[in-house]
């Protein structure tokens, strides 16, 4: 799917590699996870616990909690408040969290 946003190509910022649902993404260092996903073609970054509706970052300032993702095994992190780090593993969250998934997160 075509990306909704792009980062300033002229800016010679150093880049880092993060993984979103296993796929590597090269993104400028200093971006937040939510910004990096929006600029890398991600559309829905989670589905809701109640109706499994697709959602994506909305406010980008820590208020709306639409950008919740799993980061390095920890669920429900605010992507818009977390800066990317090289090697970061980001996963989308789908529907209701289960104890199994939580246990797997703890085991990691």
């Amino acid at each position: 799917m075509e990306s909704l946003f792009r980062t300033d190509a002229a800016a010679a910022a150093p880049r880092v590699t993060i993984h979103f649902d296993g796929a590597p993404l090269s993104v400028p260092a200093g971006l937040t996870v939510a910004a990096a996903l929006l600029a890398s073609g991600a559309r829905a970054t989670r589905t809701t616990p109640v109706g499994a509706a697709p959602r994506a970052p909305y406010c980008m300032m820590g208020v709306c909690f639409e950008c919740l993702v799993e980061i390095d095994g920890v669920a429900s992190q605010q992507g818009c408040l977390t800066r990317v780090r090289d090697g970061m593993q980001v996963c989308s969250q789908h529907g209701v969290r289960t104890l199994d998934a939580a246990a797997q997160g703890l085991a990691r």
């Binding site: 075509e2 990306s3 909704l4 946003f5 792009r6 980062t7 300033d8 002229a10 800016a11 910022a13 400028p28 200093g30 971006l31 937040t32 910004a35 929006l38 600029a39 559309r43 829905a44 970054t45 809701t48 109640v50 109706g51 509706a53 697709p54 959602r55 994506a56 970052p57 909305y58 406010c59 980008m60 300032m61 820590g62 208020v63 709306c64 909690f65 639409e66 919740l68 920890v74 429900s76 818009c80 408040l81 800066r83």
Partner: protein
């Protein structure tokens, strides 16, 4: 370990918090400033210390002005805690206040004699059909992206709603060469008539007015498709935004768009004041709650002050003046300065604040969001995004007898998700008010309780400072 005790703890590093910290530190008070973001500036001056000259040029002179206020803060000697997510402010250990926050997965606590809440503003909710779809963001979000590595739309974008920020963003996109499919403005001829009554006061703020007109003129001169007086906005799409539709002169219009940026003004982010049970009043001009304060910004909760947009929308420049006034009030109340010195120092910020606020009645009247975009007439529209509660479900529980937001919450779970009612609180109050034929002031707001940000049990268990308190308490018994 003795927990840190400060004279003044400030939450929020936007213009109000930065100005408050700078002034208080200059009077030799022990000051700490906590902020959720990694760098100072708040949302308005976000990443001001990181952007290159070209980005500052795109964002314009108002943004560039933030560099001075940040520089003064950095030089002030106040302690700065970035990446600090404050989840509780409390007066339980009176006379001192406790601030609890998480930082990099650890929970910490500090104590202060006085608190200044400078938590700023957030986008007003825009509950229309399709506002939850991927591809729909707030204009504020888009501006935050612009301030982060110059992130801009890669597809033709539609800007919809009303208010200075929407036109400013359009102007910034124009300068950045971003393709704008259309600007869909909900401001109507009626709004202009209403605002005209306040023009006299606004003339005292000519530069602010001229600036807005300059943005609009530049957008029109660039040949931007500009639809004025749009009503009944709706975003079309199944799994992502596909188009924006709206009514213009009674006819339905449709613009293809996979990226729609919504904005209808900003409202105080005052969850902290609510959590302290501070009295609020409904502001019918700004259509939001404002915490009740005295002339220094002190709440009806002793020793806690509110400054900047968190106390009512006045804009960045007014916020800095309010920050200074709150700092003076706090300094005098801890005895760091006497009342005479406080009053002498307050002269210039008070005069500047009055000047900055003169334009507000005009702006509030001109950009008053439409009723239909605040309280959806369509029962299927989602009001609470977290728990997916629709306008129809809320109306149903009001008919069943729920008199206010807290009862509606118990029936439907509205406001119980991770955002804790930030994105639905105003809509729920206004919707219930309309259903019951009462003023919003009679309906009230959700009861807000800590933690104000979600935290893990592990973070809670490991709170430093609190652990020391507990050990000390145990040793005493």
């Amino acid at each position: 370990m003795t927990p840190d005790l400060y004279d003044i703890a400030i939450v929020g590093a936007g213009p109000a918090g930065l100005a408050a910290a700078t002034l208080a530190a200059a009077q030799r008070a022990r000051v700490v400033l906590l902020d959720e973001q990694p760098g100072p500036g708040g949302q308005i001056y976000r990443a001001i210390t990181e952007g290159g000259a070209s980005r500052v040029d795109v964002l314009g002179p108002d943004y560039a002005a933030g560099a001075d206020i940040v520089r003064a803060f950095v030089a002030s000697g106040a302690r700065y805690e970035p990446n600090a997510s404050v989840w509780q402010v409390s007066t339980e250990q009176a006379p001192h206040h406790t601030v609890r926050y998480t930082r990099e997965g650890r929970s910490l606590a500090l104590h202060a004699k006085r608190l200044i809440l400078a938590t700023g503003a957030m986008e007003r909710p825009f509950p229309v059909p399709g506002w939850t779809l991927p591809g729909v963001l707030t204009a504020g979000a888009a501006q935050i992206l612009l301030k982060s590595a110059g992130t801009t739309p890669a597809v033709p974008v539609v800007l919809a709603g009303c208010g200075p920020l929407l036109y400013l963003l359009g102007w910034q996109y124009l300068r950045a060469g971003v393709p704008i499919a259309a600007i869909v403005d909900t401001t109507s001829a009626e709004d202009y008539r209403r605002a005209f009554a306040h023009l006299g006061g606004a003339l005292g703020s000519l530069p602010a007015l001229a600036k807005g007109l300059r943005y609009l003129r530049a957008l029109k001169r660039a040949g931007m498709p500009f639809h004025r007086g749009a009503r009944a906005l709706a975003v079309e799409g199944d799994t992502a935004a596909r188009a924006l539709t709206f009514e213009l002169d009674g006819r339905r219009q449709r613009i293809d768009a996979s990226l729609v940026l919504l904005h209808q003004g900003v409202v105080p982010h005052s969850h902290f004041a609510w959590s302290l049970r501070a009295p609020h009043r409904w502001d019918d001009a700004q259509l939001c709650w404002r915490p009740v304060t005295d002339a220094w910004g002190e709440l009806d909760v002793r020793g806690v002050f509110v400054a900047g947009d968190a106390a009512g929308i006045g804009g960045a420049q007014a916020a800095a003046e309010q920050g200074r006034l709150a700092a003076l009030g706090a300094l005098a109340s801890v005895g760091a300065i006497d009342a005479a010195r406080r009053d002498a120092l307050a002269g210039p910020p008070r005069a500047a604040l009055a000047k900055r606020l003169r334009v507000r009645p005009f702006l509030d009247a001109l950009y008053r969001p439409n009723d239909e975009h605040r309280v959806p007439a369509d029962d299927t529209v989602t009001v609470c995004r977290c728990e997916e509660v629709s306008a129809g479900e809320l109306r149903e529980v009001v008919r069943l007898g729920a008199p206010g937001p807290n009862q509606a919450k118990a029936f439907t779970r509205c406001g119980m998700g991770p955002c804790q009612g930030r994105l639905c609180g105003l809509t729920v109050t206004e919707l219930i008010a309309r259903e019951r034929g009462l003023e919003p002031s009679r309906i009230g707001h959700y009861r807000i309780r800590p933690p104000l940000k979600p935290l893990t049990i592990g973070e809670l268990a490991g709170t430093q400072g609190d652990a020391a308190d507990a050990a000390a308490a145990q040793a005493r018994t």
